[in-house]
């Protein structure tokens, strides 16, 4: 089915629900660590296991982070609100209720402006609320789902990690751009969250998870029935999920069918969505105010101080990149098309020269993203880490080749730059004695080339440089090696 043809006949309405795990040191209602990737069920206690008698105590930092998110999204902050219990039975929930917020969220009525192909689209924010994450089920068996599983394992390390839910209002009127708007919204939201420093926003680790609502209607008609697509785990998937759902729904409608209100799962491999749980058997969550917690009543002066202390947000940063850092309009477009404007901006404002930042993100890192089939922001490396790599290069600690190895290490292991550098022993060999020894070895092993260089064919020295670099496992500074070789061959300047 032709997308342009579908858009000519139907109007899409989209909406997004985003769950963000906060990067607080401890969980929402207890002191357990929130670290990702620990041995299953090691970051647990009586509270997050929901043992009889255990009681929650709200994490103040999580409340503060949620308010800061609300402020960055132009929301009103509630003067008084409460947690609520959302009751349903599922083994990943130790208490069989989730402590969440219901009719009294912390932040309401905001907006986020996103730019798509030169148009500014205002996405309304309905609410930003705070809740606890659930544990993680692993269903073992061929189906990979709970039905038909041989057995299921539950890891409660994730249970109780603070989770912020950000819900948009329905976004109509975006036409053919609906998939791009959805992607641009999540991109911009993620940039904001990263800038606020409240979350790792790693979609591949699940610290940012997105549900995409999509519906179609005939022009001028009422909005259609929406579906909710889950398992959208990358920025690219956000766009693909909306596009594929628009096409699927159009096919249903064209065939005279009716779109069912249901949860669908995005399939990374095929790019389409599959039917999940039907919402027709709607669960009654029996929400009621959480009696184990006291209401939250943020002091207005405190909220104001948080507002004043907000960091420069991505939109303002883009303006500054252009106006202060002298990034040309053309470069901005190029960076924007590659989805790296904010990455370059953050890298720059973390101390890297803008040109270096641009070159890394448009060059090696763009290539790495491409190899992995992800967008640059999905790479498991932060702009701060890239800035650190650039700093190590400019201080002479790393050559560009070594810097790339360092970047590879971060991407592969998720470790920090300095850890990778230390673990892999990445450093420029500046020990002249060692380099001279390696140079002598290369000359001795390649008498023909040495003779050519001595004879005045200076360009032939490259092969010897390569041999020395190989012998020093890339850790030498190539320029220094070249000079040493030329000196020892008696043709140095």
């Amino acid at each position: 089915m032709n997308y342009a043809d579908v858009i000519a006949r139907y109007e899409p309405v989209i909406g997004l629900e985003t769950h963000v795990e906060l990067s607080t040191a401890s969980k929402m209602f207890c002191g357990c660590s929130t670290e990702f990737g620990a041995e299953p069920n090691t970051h647990t206690c009586a509270v997050c296991l929901g043992l009889p008698g255990a009681l929650p105590v709200a994490n103040e930092t999580a409340i503060e982070s949620t308010i800061r998110i609300g402020l960055a999204l132009n929301c009103s902050i509630a003067a008084w609100c409460r947690f609520a219990r959302k009751n349903y039975f599922y083994p990943d929930m130790p208490k069989n209720f989730q402590t969440s917020q219901y009719d009294e969220p912390l932040c309401v009525e905001g907006y986020l402006d996103v730019e798509v192909e030169g148009n500014t689209v205002r996405v309304g924010i309905e609410r930003v609320h705070l809740e606890e994450d659930t544990g993680k089920n692993t269903h073992v068996g061929t189906s990979g789902r709970i039905h038909g599983a041989d057995y299921s394992l539950v890891d409660y390390n994730r249970a109780g990690i603070p989770l912020v839910e950000i819900v948009t209002k329905p976004v109509p009127g975006t036409g053919a751009l609906a998939p791009e708007v959805a992607k641009a919204y999540v991109t911009e939201l993620r940039n904001i969250l990263r800038t606020l420093g409240v979350s790792d926003v790693r979609m591949e680790q699940g610290s940012l998870r997105c549900d995409v609502n999509t519906s179609l209607n005939l022009p001028g008609a009422e909005w259609g029935t929406r579906t909710e697509t889950k398992n959208v785990n990358s920025l690219r998937s956000v766009e693909r999920a909306v596009r594929s759902e628009i096409l699927r729904q159009a096919e249903v409608l064209d065939g005279g069918g009716r779109v069912t209100q249901e949860t669908r799962h995005f399939q990374e491999t095929t790019g389409d969505t599959r039917r999940g749980r039907s919402k027709e058997e709607a669960t009654d969550y029996r929400y009621f105010p959480e009696p184990d917690l006291v209401p939250i009543a943020p002091d207005p002066d405190w909220v104001e101080s948080l507002r004043v202390a907000l960091p420069e947000l991505p939109a303002a940063r883009r303006v500054r990149l252009r106006d202060e850092m002298g990034v040309s309009a053309e470069d901005l477009v190029q960076m924007s098309n590659a989805g790296v404007v904010d990455l370059v901006g953050i890298t720059t404002f973390a101390g890297a020269p803008v040109g270096e930042a641009r070159n890394w993100w448009l060059g090696y890192l763009a290539q790495k993203a491409n190899e992995r089939g992800v967008e640059p922001p999905d790479l498991p490396i932060t702009p701060e880490q890239v800035a650190r790599v650039i700093e190590l290069v400019s201080s002479g600690s790393l050559s560009v080749a070594l810097a790339r190895q360092a970047v590879d290490g971060v991407l592969e292991t998720g470790s920090d730059v300095d850890e990778v550098v230390a673990e892999r022993g990445l450093k420029v060999v500046s020990d002249t004695g060692a380099l001279e020894q390696a140079a002598d070895g290369a000359i001795a092993a390649n008498p023909d080339i040495a003779a050519k260089v001595r004879g005045g064919k200076l360009s032939a020295v490259g092969a010897l440089v390569g041999a020395v670099m190989k012998a020093t496992r890339g850790q030498a500074d190539a320029a220094a090696v070249k000079q040493i070789l030329l000196d020892r061959l008696g043709v140095g300047s």
Partner: protein
């Protein structure tokens, strides 16, 4: 003072131990012997921790020998309601669904009594998940009232009240959600206090109704209860609803009340709505005599009206079941406790369902069903929401009444102890036991029950209610009353 260590008050025992006149181990052994002698007929305990009690007592003796200054209740034995979590000791909350569960942690109050050198003898019987007024809802069989073994010891903390009345322990801890400390205290002739909501940490109480649950002390005297109250109370950062304020000076108030033997200048309000029709004649007579005693002590008696108290029962039986339906959801057989039907063929939902069917008793199921219904979409406003409004109105009634009186009084229960089996098939007949105690539960205000005589040979309780955070008023008035009256336990029949 009797030579029998089990007949002494907690204050007396503590003084003897502190003075080196008796070893804590002797005290513990005397009580363990008493339990061995009488608990087969009383059945106050679900679990007796002989080794743990003797170890704790030895530690107190060692501390004293080392010259450590002992706390005011060091070495005094205590019976703990089985709803309070105790590390490595069984904690069943009177339910089959928690059979065999050994908690990996201590409740805050467990830790506090251990730190105070109090010797925990064991865990006491209770209505399952604290739901009931007779201890007949225990999955482990009823507790018998030491006054008459064919009768109930009150509930839900009936094991604790019976243990104290039967001289198996001088002190006990109970929890009170709608009257579960006060009514058992009343019907066994002892003292029981429900503190201000938030005065005592709830961390580690197996929750029934979170906005109502409150742990408190039992003793045979007002002073003993006050001594235990001060050990239990105080701010706990692990309980968000715990009040961060100094503990009410209840021990000083109890001493002062007993010593002054005067209530001159104290205005005592008699609540019109808590009496009259439906109240047992002997209870009414004892209560009226008690009011005269208070007047005789110099108190000014005023009548107050709290019209919304009439709706307390209805509001309570929506709020408590609603919260319990959520609190008890965690008992699903997945992580701990009972699991039934996990035969490889049943689905996860089936196993949860079969486990809960097998693990919960009838009253617990009744309340879960009521609460689930009351919280349902479309019914919430009419039931839970409306009940919360009534709760606010009841709190306002208290505020108005406390403008005219320093304390309010009523019978603790409309009846004396009834026979085991008499009311168990009639939930409403059971629920009306709590008529007098529910208002203070809903308002979160403190109330004490102190013995005020006998009706048909069985104890009657006087309830004294005070404003939030003024727990000391309850103790002061109760101690003055106690000093002016003959203690009913003097006439408790000997257990064979």
């Amino acid at each position: 003072m009797s030579d029998d260590l089990t007949r002494m008050t907690a204050a007396e025992i503590a003084a003897l131990i502190a003075g080196g006149e008796v070893a804590a181990v002797e005290v513990a052994q005397a009580h363990l012997d008493r339990i061995a002698a009488v608990d087969q007929s009383v059945h106050a305990f679900l679990h007796v921790d002989t080794a743990g009690a003797l170890d704790a007592a030895k530690a107190v003796d060692a501390a004293r020998a080392a010259g450590t200054v002992l706390g005011p209740l060091a070495g005094v034995p205590l019976a703990m309601k089985d709803v309070v979590v105790t590390k490595d000791l069984p904690t069943t909350a009177g339910s089959k669904i928690l059979e065999g569960w050994h908690p990996p942690y201590d409740a805050t109050i467990t830790r506090r009594i251990k730190d105070a050198g109090i010797v925990m003898l064991g865990k006491t019987n209770m209505d399952e998940f604290a739901m009931g007024s007779s201890t007949e809802n225990s999955a482990y069989g009823p507790t018998h009232n030491p006054w008459d073994l064919s009768r109930i010891p009150g509930g839900s903390s009936g094991g604790s009240s019976a243990a104290v009345a039967a001289y198996e322990a001088p002190l006990a801890i109970g929890t009170d959600t709608g009257g579960s400390i006060r009514q058992p205290a009343a019907v066994t002739g002892i003292v029981g206090h429900k503190p201000t909501y938030g005065a005592v940490s709830r961390y580690g109480l197996v929750a029934f109704s979170s906005s109502l649950d409150q742990a408190g002390p039992f003793g045979r005297t007002v002073l003993d209860a006050a001594l235990l109250h001060e050990v239990m109370a105080g701010h706990d950062p692990c309980d968000s609803t715990s009040i961060d304020a100094p503990i009410a000076p209840v021990v000083a108030a109890a001493r002062e009340g007993a010593e002054l033997s005067s209530l001159a200048g104290v205005r005592v309000g008699v609540v019109r709505e808590l009496g009259g029709e439906g109240y047992q004649a002997g209870v009414v007579a004892s209560f009226e005599a008690a009011v005269e005693t208070l007047r005789g002590l110099g108190a000014e008696i005023v009548e107050v009206s709290c019209p919304n108290f009439d709706y307390a029962l209805a509001a309570y039986y929506l709020i408590a079941p609603s919260e319990c339906s959520s609190n008890l959801a965690r008992f699903d057989g997945v992580r701990y406790g009972l699991r039934v039907g996990d035969d490889g063929a049943n689905s996860l939902e089936d196993v949860m369902s079969i486990t809960r069917e097998a693990g919960f008793g009838a009253e617990v199921k009744r309340r879960i069903i009521i609460g689930t219904y009351a919280l349902s979409s479309g019914y919430y406003d009419a039931y839970y929401g409306q009940a919360q409004k009534v709760r606010t109105l009841i709190a306002r009634d208290f505020t108005a009444a406390f403008a005219r009186a320093d304390v309010l009084v009523s019978p603790t229960s409309p009846f004396v102890a009834f026979g085991i089996g008499e009311r168990i098939d009639d939930p409403m007949a059971m629920y009306v036991n709590d008529l007098c105690t529910l208002p203070a539960s809903l308002a979160g205000t403190p109330a004490i029950s102190v013995p005020c005589g006998l009706a048909d040979g069985l104890p009657v309780g006087l309830q004294i209610m005070a404003p939030a955070m003024a727990d000391d008023r309850c103790y002061r008035v109760a101690a003055a009353f106690e000093a002016a009256t003959e203690h009913v336990l003097a006439s408790i029949p000997e257990l064979s």
